[in-house]
């Protein structure tokens, strides 16, 4: 996939020993999404607008505005991932795309979070993730780092 040079993306890939259909359910059923990502009002319909809600922290209301862009069960899911509310104007306007590829022992789960602009790194106040948000979760997250 090609992108303008000034946009950056994050890719996380992991092979999981589960059928693609099962992973698809975890990615597209609201109650299951809440268990691993955030509270949400996701519906599996292209064009459906939904929000992801984390606990509010100082300088961030905890809300991410999303919209389903692509829904091809059980292979491909894509949604907008935008800063919300007062932060929307200067905040991130990004896209999260999930791709499931069957393998011999399960499925390769690939997540690409694309559309970061370099200026967001210097001016990240509106990014939907105030630094405190990360600080609050860092203890757990750091444990996953090499």
């Amino acid at each position: 996939m090609t992108e303008p040079a000034d946009l950056r993306s994050i890719v996380v890939e992991r092979e999981m020993p589960h059928p693609p259909e099962k992973v698809w359910r975890a990615l597209t059923q609201s109650a299951l999404i809440e268990e691993w990502l955030m509270k949400n009002d996701f519906q599996p319909t292209v064009g459906h607008k939904f929000t992801l809600r984390a606990d509010p922290v100082p300088h961030w209301n905890g809300v991410t505005d999303c919209e389903v862009l692509v829904l091809e069960p059980p292979r491909r899911l894509s949604y907008r991932w935008n800063a919300s509310g007062a932060e929307a104007a200067g905040g991130v306007k990004t896209i999260v795309t999930w791709t499931l590829t069957p393998t011999k022992s399960g499925v390769l789960v690939r997540m690409e979070h694309s559309g970061f602009r370099p200026e967001h790194e210097a001016n990240y106040r509106g990014a939907g993730y105030g630094w405190q948000r990360f600080v609050d979760g860092l203890e757990r997250v750091v444990a996953t780092l090499d």
């Binding site: 990502l37 997540m111 210097a122 106040r125 993730y129 630094w131 990360f134 600080v135 979760g137």
Partner: protein, 120 residues
């Protein structure tokens, strides 16, 4: 903010912070004031002094240094000056792409935990 969180943040800053910000937070009293504002939101100089273990002029001086480094901001209301964290203060220091990457790896872990609990 637990001690572990704080320690991690400080370690992170030591690795990445430009000189000014690093030197600003290297002072334990100043760091404690900064962490208190991170945790509790906006506070007056008096409220900060009550727990800082140093005099009000000393607290004011520390706050001035923090403000110079772009880490806090203030507003006057009557006779009181209120201080709060400058949300963009640490932004130049943080590898946001790296942190978002860490966020997603953490969520992948949770997803796998969920999948292992689900029926086929």
């Amino acid at each position: 903010m637990s001690k572990t969180h704080s320690h991690w943040v400080i370690n992170f800053l030591m690795q990445t912070a430009p000189d000014t910000i690093f030197k600003t937070l290297a002072d334990p009293t100043r760091r404690a004031i900064f962490e208190r504002l991170s945790r509790d939101g906006e506070l007056t100089v008096r409220a900060l002094t009550d727990q800082a273990g140093v005099s009000q002029p000393a607290v004011s001086k520390h706050l001035g240094v923090l403000k110079f480094a772009g880490l806090v901001r203030n507003r006057r209301a009557g006779r009181q000056t209120h201080y709060s964290i400058e949300p963009q203060g640490l932004a130049p220091l943080i590898d946001w792409m790296g942190l978002y990457g860490a966020f997603w790896r953490d969520r992948f872990d949770r997803l796998e935990t969920l999948l292992s609990r689900m029926d086929q």
